[in-house]
Symmetry: C2
Subunit: 612 residues, 2 copies
């Protein structure tokens, strides 16, 4: 079914011509970054890629990820060549409503994930390849086109490292070494040997090749396909803007249409109308794990259990019920308690070591196709390391659950580097996210189950220390819910996580002084239970919010937003961590941060005494 070298050269020229045409029609885009990789893609789709473009949901399909997402003109030119889009659609590039966005997104099938933030396609590809080998158990191959500029991203080296360690021989990285970045030459320029040495040092096979020699490319792909036991990188020497003298290997030609597109197309031999029947994969359905059933853990009222421990027990139990649930951890599984999952379901647990970008990227890769539901855990503070991957995950329409343990100053002695204090703010701002922060084990178990059904990115924040179970097994716990922990109508205290305990203590103390404080456990921060917040405002008129988090973007802001959206008004005092904490016991640090029972009672008393 593959064609000869002449056809492939012509196909490469067509991909260049179409890259120029589509960028010219858009008036923007990256044709020169596309032209360098055109021959690499021509040979790939004609004889190596096995992807049924008419059936993107086929689990046996190969995957093609453009880690250099700005080469979208080439990506769309490929889609035209394989018959997935027509020429008219090709020319809608970057227009409002077009599926062909500035950088590829899943809006145009079979695109697995959004790229365009460099250094993400390869680590995500590692996750797809891990799924192929260990979850789907299908022989598909993952091809990732990488730029040379993005080789500077540390996340790429996390990917090389992890794939090398796993020996993922179903993964091929194609490095388009066109030498020129956005403003200047890359660090390594055309030093192919420099790339080869680095990549080999991480356990891969690396093959240097002339990226414009279709026969050499053919040989390299064949060698990649024949390689077992390790992933393969094709390190291809190419020229940016290849084939058009005005831009070929010229600085200053990044990210803009070719000036005289008509002349450039003519120089490349004009438009062509070649098409390629990409090979379909052999059949095969994805593996499914057997489940033993059972139920989620349930806890006795008054039991003292850390929510991180309940998290571990809950995901382990959930995976006994649901075969789609998998877990990944950043080498802190005895802290996050994902170790419970690892022990119960070792074949669905993935150790990602201290590499949080690859941790989240692997999860994004695994959820491609919708067959697996990843639970990702590390310290909440260290999820900040992967923030760009979470941001892009939302654009990828990814479904995954992030679990961050060791929230806030309540962790105590380890000090501020280990304390998540910005996590709620940063993850609330992610499109479509859910953010929950249970105060007890019962809530944790129920929320874990709920998040597994949330079609998007969710975040569950867990505590290091133990808290008493206050939620009864038959209570309603849901995304968007809340819980009245103490009834009262003089003042409302809205808390989450560890501060619920402090709020309950404060309410008891306030009751001694004749003040009836309502304590609202706002375990769902996004979406927040707006009606419960508004009811608190209506009934109490004054609200204290308290959170083990920075003052910005957390529970307090969510409460203010809920109030703004309704007709109720209330005086709101926001308690949060306003100074950088040090070390100390949890109680000392909660006190020092003025988010403990003392501070809450004090704030509530002042509000009641002088509500304005």
């Amino acid at each position: 079914m593959a064609h000869d070298a002449d056809f492939r050269r012509e196909l490469g020229q067509q991909l260049r011509v179409d890259s120029i045409r589509t960028s010219a029609a858009a008036g923007s885009g990256h044709p020169t970054s596309s032209m360098s990789a055109a021959d690499l893609m021509a040979v790939l789709i004609d004889g190596h890629l096995r992807l049924d473009y008419s059936s993107p949901e086929n689990p046996a399909n190969d995957h093609l990820i453009f880690s250099k997402g700005h080469a979208s003109p080439l990506y769309y030119a490929v889609l035209k060549a394989v018959g997935a889009i027509d020429d008219a659609e090709l020319l809608t590039f970057r227009q409002l409503g077009s599926r062909l966005e500035g950088h590829p997104t899943p809006r145009i099938p079979p695109t697995d994930v959004a790229t365009g933030s460099l250094g993400q396609g390869l680590p995500i590809g590692v996750g797809v390849a891990m799924a192929g080998r260990s979850l789907d158990k299908l022989p598909y191959r993952v091809w990732v086109l990488c730029g040379d500029s993005e080789m500077a991203e540390g996340s790429m080296w996390e990917a090389f490292q992890h794939a090398g360690w796993e020996g993922l021989d179903n993964l091929v990285a194609i490095i388009d070494v066109n030498r020129l970045g956005q403003t200047r030459e890359t660090m390594l320029g055309w030093d192919l040997d420099g790339y080869v040495k680095r990549i080999e040092a991480f356990g891969w096979k690396a093959i240097a090749v002339d990226g414009h020699d279709v026969e050499a490319i053919e040989a390299a792909y064949a060698e990649a396909e024949a390689t077992t036991g390790q992933p393969v990188a094709i390190v291809a020497k190419t020229m940016k803007g290849r084939g058009v003298k005005a831009v070929e290997d010229q600085p200053g030609k990044h990210g803009k249409p070719v000036e005289d597109a008509e002349a450039a197309v003519a120089e490349l031999g004009g438009e062509r109308d070649l098409s390629v029947d990409v090979a379909a994969p052999e059949g095969g359905s994805a593996h499914e794990f057997e489940t033993s059933g059972g139920s989620l853990p349930s806890y006795e009222l008054g039991d003292e259990v850390a929510t991180r421990k309940a998290y571990g027990e809950s995901i382990a139990a959930l995976a006994s019920i649901r075969g789609d649930v998998v877990a990944l951890d950043g080498e802190v599984s005895n802290s996050t308690h994902s170790e419970d999952f690892r022990e119960a379901h070792p074949d669905r647990y993935f150790e990602m070591f201290i590499a949080e970008q690859q941790l989240v990227a692997a999860a994004v890769g695994m959820q491609v196709g919708g067959r697996w539901t990843p639970f990702v855990s590390t310290f909440a503070a260290f999820l900040s390391r992967a923030y760009d991957f979470v941001r892009m995950g939302a654009i990828s329409q990814a479904k995954l659950v992030l679990s961050g343990s060791h929230a806030g100053v309540s962790i105590g002695e380890d000090g501020p580097s280990q304390m998540a204090l910005e996590d709620i703010a940063s993850l609330r701002a992610i499109h479509g996210s859910v953010v929950v922060h249970p105060s007890d084990a019962q809530q944790t178990a129920r929320l874990v189950a709920a998040l597994a059904d949330h079609d998007g990115i969710s975040f569950i924040r867990t505590l290091r220390g133990k808290t008493p179970v206050r939620t009864a097994a038959d209570e309603d716990v849901r995304i968007g819910g809340s819980r009245v922990a103490v009834e009262g109508d003089d003042v409302a205290i809205i808390a989450c996580g560890i501060t619920v305990d402090e709020a309950v203590k404060a309410a008891e103390r306030l009751a001694d002084g004749g003040i009836k404080a309502r304590v609202l456990d706002a375990y769902s921060i996004k979406p927040i239970d707006a009606s419960a917040v508004q009811a608190a405002a209506r009934d109490c008129g004054a609200i204290v919010t308290v959170e083990d988090h920075a003052p910005e973007g957390g529970l307090g802001d969510a409460v203010l937003e809920a109030l703004a959206a309704g007709d109720e008004t209330a005086h709101v005092v926001k308690l949060a961590v306003r100074e950088i904490p040090g070390s100390g016991t949890p109680a000392e640090l909660l006190h020092g941060a003025k988010i403990d029972a003392d501070a809450i009672a004090d704030a509530a008393q002042k509000l009641v005494a002088s509500p304005a």
Copy 2:
């Protein structure tokens, strides 16, 4: 001044003993991770390190950074051995108010930066070494103690890559290969050759050594000191918990005190009272750049200038006035316009390529000692890649200015991967941060100057497209300020950046319908101008906030917080980007996101018609 091998072996034992003692006193900590590196530190401080501990501010001092910050017991044991703290203070480890926090922070001099989030010390050390060579122009050396677990972090490889490319021969990384991570063996275990190959591939000299052989360590340090033209890594094979059988090379002994501390100390030969006079550096003062003077750019009312362009012009001008100002960029200097700085001050500009973690880390390193004020630029969306470094930068008490260009949907065709929509939320939550988002060039210039004086982390968000200059040259523009762009008292529109333009258009349209809308340009989002917001509430009673950002944690939340802090109430409608945008023209996308003049006018009209 250095001692013999026997003394050094004894000193190593003392460091182990003190690591055990301090962790035992605290009841927590990481003694075993300290014991593996004790001999490496003993030889370092006795004959190699040149650091006047009695004068931490000496610019000629060497720097010692514990990238494996959890080895803080060892770090503090070293401080005792060199006379920087006494034994009584050593035993205050992790107690409330102690300078000896769970992980090192600058609260205990001469600690340069906070560590404890793995993979940060080495890239920050690269920045210190860059400052030594290119800014201070002093021969100090930067020694970084790294763990083997953190070698999995991509940021480490950004550091190896950048230091190798720069040929930083004033940088020595000491890798403590103790084989055991938190829960299991590392990916490479004791495969020293694996580390050597990787590190050499990135252009370093790598020396494998027995990390418990003080004579071999001596030879390795001597070789490192004699090496020119490239950085050096000492790859040391060590044992976690070395010297105490109960924990030596045992799994499950991470991050906890040695159980029987007394017996362990006895096994190590008991307490010692050795002290080391660390060599002081030769004298020398830091280089200062000559300045030509001049003034900040000023813009004519009505000029159309992109704020990113004004940013570039302003930092270039500022550096002509102030010799302390330096600039770094992530290979997008023609987008962020830091290229203006590069052209004017090439000796103070640093190209960090597409490696945003190393970009921010280098800036954190450069500001150590307070002599240099770094301005760091990339697309605002890509600052998310370095979020953990910014978070830790705050704990490091770092002073730096982050500039993020290409904010929001207003960038247009490039699509959501390039659009910062979470940046305000995430950076507002950073302790002590300032967040500004100027709407025109004049504001930009003035804010650039103001941020250079802000003692902490600040963020200036700039626009891709041009906006008209509305701020007169003699107007007051300041951190915490705002500007009334249009007077009115029927409804207030609070906007920032591109939405100020849209708000002004909306106000004009509303005026045609008899509604007098006030437009408040809230260019300072943190701190927000609370009195101006409260005045808007008092005078207008109804507020529309509008931002090219996610609904959570941005301008709207800052406005609600300002209202909650005051006595004024108002009905607030928040306009923000609620769906993932696609590609399109800026106008189309602003319209589609419902943050353009149409949407603003519509929201304002509804508020005025039905204020409840």
